[in-house]
Amino acid sequence: MKAKHQRLILALAALVALVGAGLLAASALKDEAAYFYAPNDVRTKGVEPGKAVRLGGMVVKNSLKRAADGVTIRFDVTDGKATVPATFSGIAPDLFKEGSGVVAEGSFDAKGTFVATNLLAKHDERYMPRELEGMNYNESTHEMKAER
């Protein structure tokens, strides 16, 4: 390598690497970024089965059922406008309960049931999944109001 051109070549290599990283990131983000859906978004926009998404809303009262194996649960998630059935196998977080907010990670199966691989529940007063900010669930009427 000529000494004169070396700095130029190095700068070009760095530029190519960075542009490459940007393109790679853009293409991967298109496939792998999980969009957040509220139940009403699911109804109006539709989500293709198998695509990783996040579903957020409130767990409908009296919808939580446990399967015979003791570790699988079924529940409905609502945003007041639409309701989506969901299932989860595993140890649910302690603050996951009916009438309380949840963000579920997972994907829809062919029948339209959301199969959650992970549940993020509201931790305490200080921690709340950001996606649920501005949602307000009325326990007596099962209605949701958006505060925006």
Binding site: M1, K2, A3, Q6, R7, L10, A13, A14, A17, L18, G20, A21, G22, L24, A25, A28, L29, E32, A33, A34, Y35, F36, A52, R54, R66, D69, G70, V71, S89, G90, I91, A92, D94, E105, N118, H123, D124, E125, R126, Y127, P129, R130, E131
Partner: protein, 660 residues
């Protein structure tokens, strides 16, 4: 007896005690004014060539270190005494908490952790003033000026928007307690180590500023900067390793890295520092990659600040996010723009006058290190984009989360390519080498890689994904080739820093092997079992004996007693579900059983119909290698640091002897 004469309740002691918060605040203000003074003195002195002004710069830096330490010690004292007249103690502590968590709880919150940040910065500045001998005087002063400039912004942040010493009147009877997830010995170790590393990089940043201002970007500058970079990098490595293990056992999800924004915030400075560490060696040894090294020093600390911004602004959802306050976010964002923008502008202005470094051939150690730097930079870029992407889309009204699928898919393969480069790099000569010769030196690792891939294909075909497969093969090959620099050398005469490189590279291989084994061979079982039941999984038998209630210092728990055995004698393991009263929270304490070939990991869930209890059981083969590798990497860095410094002392000593 007159209560005023009794020791700890006496009016005199109470008078002193009530001053602690004020002492801390006063120390902070003083330190901030000294930083301003230091900045003015350094640059006025350099500009006007006035040595008497410059003479005051070092004492100012040392005094700042002492004052910030006093402020931090004051806050620790307030927490230890559970002084409920201080707002921060009220919102983050409780008098019934064990003393270790009162102590560590000092930095388990926003204000306290920012005070820790400026304290580390102040102490690091003092250390540069006291111990840096290799730099020329002008560059040294410019470096201290740079350090003062950065500190000043963070003092302002602390004093104007996050005062840790604010009082509350009237003082409540007791505090609100510390988040139980943080009530773990990990809190005493992980944040301080990580912060020492984060903020240690500010020294590299200031060195770069100093070198640009005084136009002294050369091998001597690199040799002076290297120990600081190495030290910060070692601590950063330890902090990340500790944080990973803490999250692994505390969160009970069985994972060791979650690609949480805050984890990424610690990974990004580490990636930049790792690149810097290698390029600074090129600059120190061969006087090449001048501009690039300066740039990396700027990027590394910028990543620390970006990380702080992400964490402290509460802009991203994370287990680390404390109370959200938008003004704080804008304040840090402003600082970020000022410092990064300023440094980049200085870089653009001065870099034209930095002469080009020494040239090298295409096949050479230098080229391999350039490859290392480029790949690390690419990974850094990918992680940065993935971390910021949710913020960017949110601005357009889409809520998106980017997690493991993205990071694993794109950062994984590049990290593997980096590992391959790591196998070849140390076996390539400086300046000029022959591709054939390098290939020959790699013959043994290549043969071993082939053997491993054949046996893995026979043994685990179809059970193992492509990335873990490649990971295992590359880990073994890199492990073997990382030892090659010691081949045919007199082991006792090999310099310590060569051992440092060997140990650190071997650590990468060990860690990679652990990651690959964990993702390829982990066995998971989820059951609901009654006391008395027998559970079989992955060669283990677990007898579920009973559920018993127990009580700790500030919690109560339900505990499952289980006998775990693998053929031989059985061991009692005790996963718990803990309930904390303040703040009211339930956490699960996983039971971990460590064996030489892996870990058994058991989590207790809730009670379900029929007196059954949910249990989640993992057998994770060789998972401990991940953190063992991390410790080896840090140890390698420490060996290199000690080796380089010792050689410096020896050379100085010999020179002095020769002069006599």
């Amino acid at each position: 007896m007159d209560p005023r004469l009794r020791g700890d309740d006496g009016w005199f002691c109470r008078g002193i005690a009530s001053m602690i918060a004020e002492t801390g605040l006063a120390a902070l203000w003083l330190a901030a004014s000294l930083a301003l003074l230091q900045l003015v003195l350094a640059f006025a002195g350099l500009k006007g060539g006035k040595p008497d002004l410059l003479a005051a710069v070092r004492p100012a830096a040392v005094a700042q270190g002492v004052l910030t330490a006093i402020a931090f010690a004051s806050l620790i004292t307030l927490f230890l005494r559970s002084d409920m007249s201080v707002l921060l103690v009220v919102t983050n502590s409780h008098s019934m908490k064990p003393w270790l968590y009162k102590f560590a709880g000092t930095w388990g919150n926003h204000e306290g952790s920012m005070l820790l940040w400026v304290t580390v910065m102040g102490v690091a500045g003092a250390a540069v003033a006291l111990f840096e001998r290799a730099l020329q005087r002008n560059a040294h002063m410019a470096t201290l000026g740079g350090q003062a400039a950065i500190s000043l912004g963070f003092y302002a942040f602390l004093l104007f928007s996050s005062n840790p010493f604010a009082r509350i009147d009237p003082a409540p009877a007791d505090g609100q307690g510390l988040n139980p997830l943080l009530q773990d010995p990990g809190l005493a170790f992980h944040p301080p180590t990580l912060y020492l590393g984060y903020v240690g990089l500010s020294v590299a940043f200031s060195f770069a500023i100093g070198a640009l201002l005084t136009r002294q970007v050369d091998a001597a500058f690199a040799r002076a900067m290297r120990p600081w970079v190495l030290g910060a990098w070692v601590l950063l490595t330890l902090g990340i390793t500790a944080g990973s293990y803490w999250a692994y056992y505390e969160l009970g999800w069985g994972g060791w890295w979650f690609w949480d924004p805050v984890e990424n915030a610690s990974l990004m400075p580490w990636l930049a520092a790792t690149a810097l560490l290698h390029s600074v060696t090129v600059l120190a040894t061969r006087d090449a990659l001048r501009a690039w090294t300066v740039m990396l020093a700027v990027v590394a600390f910028s990543m620390s600040m970006v990380g702080t911004f992400l964490v402290r602004s509460g802009i991203l959802t994370s287990v680390h996010a404390f109370a959200v306050d938008p003004t704080r976010g804008s304040f840090i964002l402003g600082l970020l723009a000022l410092y990064i923008g300023g440094a980049l502008a200085l870089f653009g202005w001065r870099i034209g006058s930095v002469r080009e470094g020494a040239p090298f051939e295409l096949v050479s150690r230098e080229t391999m290190l350039v490859v290392n730097n480029l790949l690390l930079t690419v990974i850094l870029g990918l992680v940065l984009i993935g971390t910021l992407y949710p913020l960017m889309t949110e601005a357009f009204g889409h809520k998106v989360s980017v997690g493991a699928p993205y990071f694993d898919r794109i950062a994984g393969p590049i990290a593997l390519a980096l590992m391959v480069a790591m196998a070849a790099g140390p076996l390539t000569r400086w300046r000029k080498d022959q591709a054939r010769a390098v290939g020959k030196r790699l013959l043994i690792p290549l043969c071993i890689a082939l053997l491993v891939s054949i046996s893995l294909s026979l043994f685990a075909w179809g059970r193992i994904g492509i990335l873990p497969f490649l990971g295992l093969v590359i880990a073994v090959a890199v492990g073997v080739s990382s030892l090659a620099p010691l081949w045919k050398r007199k082991l006792l005469r090999t310099p310590l820093f060569t051992y440092g490189m060997v140990v650190a590279h071997l650590g990468c291989a060990v860690s990679l092997a652990g990651m690959a084994c964990d993702s390829a061979f982990t066995v998971e079982k989820l059951v609901a079992a009654r006391p008395g039941d027998m559970i079989q999984t992955a060669g283990w038998s677990l007898r579920f004996r009973q559920i018993i209630p127990i009580a700790g210092d500030n919690w109560t728990a339900l505990q499952a007693d289980m006998d775990a055995s693998r053929g031989g004698s059985s061991v009692l393991i005790r996963p718990q579900s803990r309930f904390f009263a303040s703040p009211p929270t339930t956490t699960s304490e996983a039971a971990l059983l460590t064996r030489w070939d892996g870990q058994l990991y058991v989590v207790l869930g809730e009670e379900v119909e029929g007196g059954r209890w949910q249990l989640r059981i993992w057998w994770k083969p060789f998972v401990t290698l991940i953190w063992l590798g991390g410790i080896m990497i840090a140890l390698g860095g420490a060996l290199a640091l000690v080796g380089r410094e010792r050689r410096g002392w020896l050379m100085k000593w010999r020179a002095r002897e020769a002069r006599r």
